[in-house]
Symmetry: C2
Subunit: 133 residues, 2 copies
């Protein structure tokens, strides 16, 4: 797979302007795994609907039924690291923490909404295929 390897080397350079999912060493693969799960999808929707208003941690948990404290924390931390969410600590007593999508995070709403809509519309067909009743 010489072609692939040389492609990967080129992709690793700083001149590269876009990722390539089909290049094994391209971080697009890890990125895709990070944004494709249920909690990221829900969080982006909730924060996009609130935007530009911020949301507190407890509000986010209420808006995402079934999410654990740990999963929400992890998802927020990962999205902050990826530059998709900003975190603001309000110096009140006790301090409050607020979250909002960055402009980059906002652009993720439309593509994730397309997959969400597909999953919601086709879940019955998939369930039928799986004979889950």
């Amino acid at each position: 797979m010489d072609d692939q390897e040389s492609t990967s080397r080129v992709r690793g350079d700083r001149e590269v302007t876009a990722g390539d999912l089909f290049s094994p060493e391209c971080p697009t693969r890890q990125l895709l795994d990070r944004i494709g799960d249920r909690w990221t999808s829900m969080l982006v929707k909730v924060l996009a609907e609130a935007h530009p208003a911020e949301r507190g941690f407890a509000e986010l948990r209420r808006a995402m039924p079934g999410v654990s404290h740990k999963m929400l924390s992890q998802t927020l931390r990962r999205m902050i690291a990826d530059g998709l969410v900003t975190r603001r600590v309000e110096p009140s007593v006790p301090p409050r923490t607020w979250y909002t999508l960055t402009s980059l995070g906002l652009t993720l709403d439309a593509p994730l909404a397309a997959v969400r809509a597909w999953a919601e519309a086709n879940m019955p067909a998939v369930r039928e295929a799986r004979k889950i009743r």
Copy 2:
């Protein structure tokens, strides 16, 4: 969360015509996790580009650099169970196995392509945020 619980009960009925990602017991959540990963995304793209032609296992592996035999098998098995892919065994010697997207699987190509395009276009911005160099 009485509202959520009653929604979930309704969602469990056979009259239900669509899923709801925000309902904790709705299988849309598991479905979203299953279709959101890198390998499903790549496999749908490769099979959609080939459609209506079928592809063999070895061809699929070559088209998805970096995928292991095990990961490709698992992804195919899961997509077959979900009604997204069909498997055909050709009674040759040795027998050959062919894969193709179902009509349901084909409809998944566009929404996954939107997320793939987002990830490829914005990977440099995310990498910048993560300071991965």
